[in-house]
Symmetry: C2
Subunit: 505 residues, 2 copies
């Protein structure tokens, strides 16, 4: 053996650092593209992104990396590695085996396309022009099918896509879980619709000053413990969070002048993602473990903060006064009216503005369409009609334009098929984590009622955030809650919450 284990480890860690550096640089370029990059520079920028992504891909799939991995995986070497290095080896092996099946040139072409497609989507959404976007959608689907062929299909072709975002997740499991959710949530929704105690929402239909909305959003982010020395808040067509490194975790939001809480809850949502990324232990910085462990766990944090905390009664008992002062004379209602008005359950067209209950139906629609695209060959040309049919069927309403229909989300434009289920998985994880937190963090809701959110952030940091990718989703759920994932926590949480709001018997 020409090269010792220690030298191999140094080479391996250097490579991981390089890969992580490319990831960070590309993260800045994507953030920039979506927050104000000049329009005419985008085509050339896409080519540059393609070059860098291609180089990153080469570094991630180089034969020497495979050799270093094999060397470090030898039992007597692996056992001497630190916990972090062991996990790095395992994770890198998984990514490596997946990536080497994609020819670098194909991947580079795909990245260029995905970047152009996202830009085009932004235009198409603004112009309500699905026809202009469709050729990009076709190409993105085509590339994704090529990738499935190269990776090899799981139990179904779509299983292969799911595993990218939630390791181990399958169509069989999701059919079961989503089936279970639907089974219990549909009667709950019916009870809610039948309740004579419908919340008043009339006070929400006003014009709310954008600057005041922004100031209040910043106030709440500070209350959550979002660190502004390690982040910034900008605007974009579709809100997102991006963790470049724990010292630079940026979020964006979108202000609607006729809605006082849309931007706020969007900001809290992205702020939840950001708290996760800002609080990863420093030992993981510069490695590929320095990010959330899965999309589902990531979504559990955004949706925990947005819904479990941000849409709770104690949260508004503390914060409503400040909100009223932000919009003098505009919110002349009681905190109970405000709380109930912001927790209305009603079918709606836009996923990111849906209530906590029907939200899961938005996800199920997307999940079913993705299954149809990849398991049944549904065409890009047929997406708008299918979308509208399903909204009619599941939610009883039909989009009046593609902008508020099939074009509403950025995900598909960038090829993120298999991502959407993460949102409902996040709801389930969040409810399960909250159950443990309520038992362990005594007086938790009293703290929320006093505006003291930092102990919650600290609990989450200690139990979840700091580990980054050091624990898998299932390890994490087991370690935090002492049980595997169980959708019943979400059902119970929603039942309790809406029984109170709608005074269900």
């Amino acid at each position: 053996m020409a090269i010792g284990a220690q030298d191999t480890l140094v080479l391996f860690r250097d490579r991981i650092n390089a890969i992580s550096s490319y990831g960070e640089a590309l993260g800045v370029l994507y953030w920039d593209l979506r927050t104000g990059a000049p329009r005419r520079g985008m085509d050339r920028r896409s080519e540059s992104i393609g070059v860098l992504s291609g180089e990153m891909f080469k570094l991630s799939t180089a034969p020497e990396l495979g050799e270093w991995l094999s060397r470090l995986e030898e039992k007597h070497t692996y056992e001497t590695l630190s916990e972090i290095d062991q996990r790095l080896v395992t994770e890198t092996r998984k990514e490596y085996d997946r990536s080497v099946r994609i020819p670098p040139k194909l991947y580079q072409e795909y990245v260029v396309l995905a970047s152009q497609s996202e830009s085009k989507w932004e235009e198409a959404k603004a112009d309500n022009d699905y026809a202009g976007f469709q050729p990009y959608m076709e190409k993105v689907i085509g590339f994704t099918n090529q990738f499935i062929d190269l990776w090899g299909a799981g139990a179904t072709r779509y299983d292969t896509l799911l595993d990218q975002y939630e390791p181990g997740m399958t169509v069989e499991e999701l059919d079961r879980v989503f089936g279970g959710l639907r089974e219990q949530l549909v009667p709950l929704a019916a009870n809610i619709a039948a309740s004579p105690h419908q919340p008043d929402t009339s006070f929400l239909s006003q014009r709310f000053d954008k600057a005041a909305q922004k100031a209040f959003s910043l106030h709440i982010l500070r209350q959550m413990g979002y660190n502004f020395e390690s982040g910034r808040l900008d605007e974009s067509a579709h809100p997102f969070a991006t963790g470049l490194n724990p010292g630079d975790v940026r979020i964006t939001t979108r202000y609607l002048e006729n809605d006082v809480t849309s931007a706020l809850f969007g900001t809290i949502h992205e702020g939840g993602h950001a708290l996760y990324e800002q609080n990863i232990m420093k030992e993981l910085v510069g490695t590929t473990l320095c990010t959330g462990t899965s999309m589902g766990i990531h979504e559990s944090q955004s949706r925990f903060w947005e819904n479990v905390i941000g849409r709770s009664r104690p949260f508004w008992e503390h914060n409503f006064d400040a909100l009223q002062k932000s919009f003098p004379g505009q919110l002349d209602v009681t905190v109970d009216q405000f709380y109930r008005g912001n927790n209305v359950v009603t079918p709606s067209l836009i996923r990111i503005e849906a209530d906590e209950l029907t939200y899961n139906l938005h996800i199920i629609i997307r999940y079913e369409m993705e299954k149809l695209i990849f398991n049944e060959g549904l065409k890009a040309a047929d997406l708008p009609a299918m979308w509208n049919d399903k909204y009619k069927e599941y939610l009883g309403i039909t989009p009046t334009s593609d902008a508020e229909g099939v074009l509403q989300d950025v995900h598909w434009s960038g090829g993120a098929f298999g991502y959407f289920p993460s949102y409902s998985l996040g709801n389930m994880y969040a409810a399960q984590f909250a159950d443990t937190m309520e038992r362990e963090l005594k007086g938790m809701w009293d703290m929320v009622g006093r505006g003291e959110l930092l102990p919650i952030k600290d609990w989450l940091t200690e139990r979840i955030y700091k580990y980054g990718k050091l624990r898998t989703p299932s390890e994490l759920v087991q370690a935090v809650t002492a049980k595997p994932l169980d959708p019943q926590y979400l059902v119970n949480y929603l039942s309790r919450k809406y029984s109170d709001i709608y005074k269900l018997s």
Copy 2:
């Protein structure tokens, strides 16, 4: 020969495209660092920048690139190349021969340091803390001396640095040119100081609303033909322009609330740089020729727009009315008073706020200090005292803090030694170009007086901008003005202008 000339050209052009892509990505990262990147993420970002710069450096110095160059330089091949490819080969050969002398690891360390040093400089300037910055200054000088050793000194060690920014420029030439300038400008400045017709500047000492300043700056940028679909205006501690590609050329400025024109002239200055980069011919996009041909020529454009146009009487005859309306009741003077008040010649501490005449003394101080550092071994610890001594000697005034002294400029923190002379070269080029323009563009000053600046932008595009690096500085000056560089144009321009303003006999 295993590989034909055509295949070699394809490989060569692909490599140039890759190098250009890294340059663009790094440009975005630097822009981001200086316009609002979160503070705590900067150390890790510097490492990422180091990795990318190292990769770019490897691509630029790889043995195969040397082989491709040799192949393309063969006479019978070279003669078949397009003008652009010929120039690409020549330019790349020059950079290649220079770069291969720097060990990649050394260069990567240097880039990390330079990035950290620039961040540290920004803090140090804010805190007036030269001592905190000095260790970085020492290291940057140390690296630069290593580079001179590796490149080999020219006639003097400092010549080697000058050549980076203005190809072919030497200490001998600059001593002569700057000597000539000083010889004629010093008596002119004395005449000005002795004139009984000193402009009134009292109306400038007010508080001017920042938002109104910004709106007016944007108005002037539009008048100049700056394309906002290919750029954006932000704020930073030190104004700069960065050409990422011709479709994305960004500028920054810095608003001073007690000065109505500082940000405006800064914006016009950076706007001049930006017009150059926005109007390079599309055939050069994605190549390393897609930028200004030298720092001196670049500065000729920023200073042409800022001084020759922006500080001219016809410019204000058109624009003063709109400026008055931007600050109601604050500028109750005649356009002649305003014009003269903005063209006061007076010794001052801050280079970027100096008048057109004494500006050259600011440059000569920096030029002499750089010569002392690299030709005489002047130490970083001694820079503040030397700086203050020279300001006393040349301008008769002494900074009261390092923040307004040696810490005022970003250049040295990032290792840009040899850059400062470009500014005065720019003044000279600008005056010489303007002389030709006045003769060729009939009624030019009448157009300025009507706010019609686009014909000027178009003339500059046709004669200068579109060529990017396709012509060398001396080729360009010869082609545009039919003469080599002659500092007498600047002297004549300044004499004419100030004889009028100060009513000199």
